[in-house]
C-alpha cells in the first residue's frame, strides 16, 4: 500500500527532519507511529499526504506519488492534523459542502459516529470545544471510507471516555482494504488498538515491527525485585515493571509505554531479541 525508499526531508539546508527512511505499510493494519518530540512523526505523515516533498528518495502511496496531489489520490486519503480548525458552519452544512468531494462518503456512518462521540449534530463548529471539533473531524475522516487515514495526535484534547470510544470505532472501521497510521506521543492511548509499531528516533526509523512479534520475543511483567535477565525496568509503587526475554513463550500484555522508553534507552538489548522482521536502521521493511 505504501512504500518509502531512502526518503529524506529537510525544511532547511542543514535542518534534516527525516533521513534515509525505508518503510512499507500494508493494508488491513493499524500502525502506531511513536517517537520523541522532533523525531519526524508529523513530517512522515505529511509526506504520505503529499504536504511536504522529499529532498531525496521515493515515496509511493496507493500507486501515486503523493507530492503531485492528484485528486483521485486525495479522494482516497484523509489526514487528521493535530490542531483542528474547521470553518464556522453548522455540522450538517460542513458535511454537505465537503462530503461530496469523497465518492465513498458514508453519511449514515458519519452521523452514527457523531452520536457515538456524543457530539450534537445540529451544532455550529464555533460552539464546539476543541475536543468536540476533533471528534467531528475524526468522524468525518472515518466516514470518507478512504483507504488511507493518517492521524496526527488524534487523542489530544479527547476526554477519557472519548479515548475509549475512539479506540472502539477505529477498530470497528478497519477493513482489509484500509490502513490507519496514527502518530502519537501519548503511547497508552494506542494500547490494544494498534497491531504494528514504527518508532522514530533522531530522524531515523529505529524500529518497525508488529505487536505480535514484540510480544513473542519479549515478556512484560511486574516483578518484586530485579533479576539479571531484565532488559529494561522501571520501579513503581506496584513493583518493578520489567521487560524480559520471553523464553517461555508466555502470553503477556505488552506495556507500550514501557517498551517505548526501553527502546530509546536500551535499544541494543531489546532489538537483539526481536528476531523476526523488525527494522533496524532502516535496513529492512516491515
Amino acid at each position: 500500500m505504501i512504500t518509502i525508499q531512502k526518503a529524506s526531508y529537510a525544511y532547511r539546508a542543514n535542518q534534516t527532519v527525516l533521513e534515509d527512511v525505508n518503510l512499507r505499510f500494508q493494508s488491513g493494519h493499524i500502525y502506531g507511529l511513536l517517537g520523541e518530540n522532533g523525531a519526524g512523526k508529523t513530517t512522515l505523515l505529511k509526506s504520505l499526504a503529499g504536504l511536504v516533498f522529499p529532498k531525496s528518495g521515493t515515496i509511493d502511496v496507493l500507486g501515486y506519488q503523493p507530492h503531485r496531489r492528484r485528486p483521485d489520490f486525495l479522494a482516497d486519503t484523509f489526514m487528521i492534523p493535530e490542531d483542528v480548525e474547521l470553518p464556522d458552519l453548522l455540522i450538517e452544512r460542513y458535511v454537505a459542502l465537503y462530503a461530496c468531494f469523497y465518492p465513498k462518503f458514508d453519511l449514515e456512518l458519519f452521523f452514527w459516529l457523531l452520536e457515538t462521540f456524543e457530539v450534537p449534530r445540529a451544532a455550529r463548529m464555533e460552539q464546539l470545544s476543541f475536543g468536540q471539533r476533533k471528534k467531528v473531524l475524526i468522524a468525518f475522516g472515518l466516514a470518507t471510507k478512504t483507504r488511507l487515514i493518517l492521524m496526527d495526535e488524534p487523542t489530544n484534547g479527547l476526554d477519557i471516555p472519548s479515548k475509549s470510544q475512539f479506540r472502539k470505532v477505529m477498530a470497528s472501521e478497519l477493513t482489509e482494504e484500509r490502513c490507519f497510521i496514527i502518530s502519537t506521543h501519548q503511547v497508552r492511548d494506542l494500547d490494544q488498538l494498534i497491531d504494528q509499531l514504527v518508532i522514530l528516533a533522531k530522524q531515523r526509523v529505529l524500529l518497525a515491527a508488529s505487536i505480535a512479534e514484540i510480544s513473542q520475543s519479549l515478556a512484560f511483567k511486574v516483578i518484586p525485585r530485579a533479576v539479571p535477565e531484565v532488559l529494561y525496568m522501571e520501579e513503581t509503587i506496584q513493583g518493578i515493571h520489567a521487560i524480559l526475554p520471553n523464553k517461555q513463550q508466555e502470553d503477556t500484555k505488552m506495556d507500550m509505554e514501557l517498551f517505548f522508553k526501553g527502546i530509546l534507552l536500551a535499544k541494543d538489548q531489546l532489538i537483539s531479541l526481536l528476531h523476526t522482521n523488525q527494522t533496524i536502521n532502516d535496513e529492512q521493511y516491515i
Partner: protein
Amino acid sequence: MNNTFNANRFCLLLKRQWLEYRKVYLSSVAILFGSLFMLYAFSILINNQFRFGQMEQGYLTYFSRLNFRNMILMMTLLIFLSFFAGQHFNRYSKTATAIQELTLPVSALEKIMVAVLTAVLLGIVTYVIVCLTVDALFVSILRKFYDNGLMRELRMVKDGNEGFRYIGQQMRYKECTVFAVMGFTLSSVFLLGSIYFKKLSYLKTAFAAVLLFMFITIIPGTITGLWYQDQVSVTDYAHQPTIPTAVFTVLTVLMILSIWAATYYRLKEKEV
C-alpha cells in the same frame, strides 16, 4: 477521473467557496458601499462647499463638476480589491487549515480557476456595480435638485459643463483602461501574495507592491532626471509616439496571465 480538470469538482469547489466566504463577501460589499457613500457625501458637502443658504448667491462653482470622483474611486479600488483578493488564500496561512485545503480532492487548476473567478473577476465586477450604484444615487439626487430649479444659479457658473453626469458618461476610454489595468493587476498581485507569503501576507504584498512600483516608476524617472539635469528638453509632446493600444493590451494581458501562472505554480508547490 480526470485529474487536471473536472467540471463537477470545479462547481463543487465554487459552491463551497461561496457558502464559506459569502459572509466576508457581503460584509466587504457593505463596507465598500458605506465607504463610497460617506466619501461622496463628505466630498459634496464639504469639499465643494455646498451650502443651501448660499444657493441664491451662486457660490456653487464646483458643485456640478463632481471632480473628486476619480480620486475617490482610485482610493477605494486600491483598498477594496487588494483586501478582497488578499484574503482569498488565508486558510493556507495556518497549518491546520492549510492541511485541509491542500488535501481537498481537487486539482490545482480548479483551485486557481475558482480563485481568479471569485477573487479577481467577482471583486472587479462587484466593485464596478457598487461604484455605479453609489454614483447613480448621488447624481440622481443632484439632478433632482437641478431639475426642480433649486440650482438654477449653477447654469451660470458651470463653465460649460452639461450639469451632473453619471460617472459612466463622464469617464473616457483612457481612464476606463487605467482603472481596468489597475484593478486586474492589483487583484492578481494580492492573490499571488496571499498564497506566496505565509504570515502577514497582506502587509508583505503591499510592501512588495510599493517597492515594485517605485522600482518601475520613480527610480528610472529619477535616474533619467539626473542624467538630463543640465540639458534642455526639446521633445515635442504633441507628436511623441505612444504605445499602440493593441500592444499595450497584449502586454497587460500577458502580465496578468503571468501573475496567475505564478499563483498556480505556487499553489501546486505549496508545502506545510
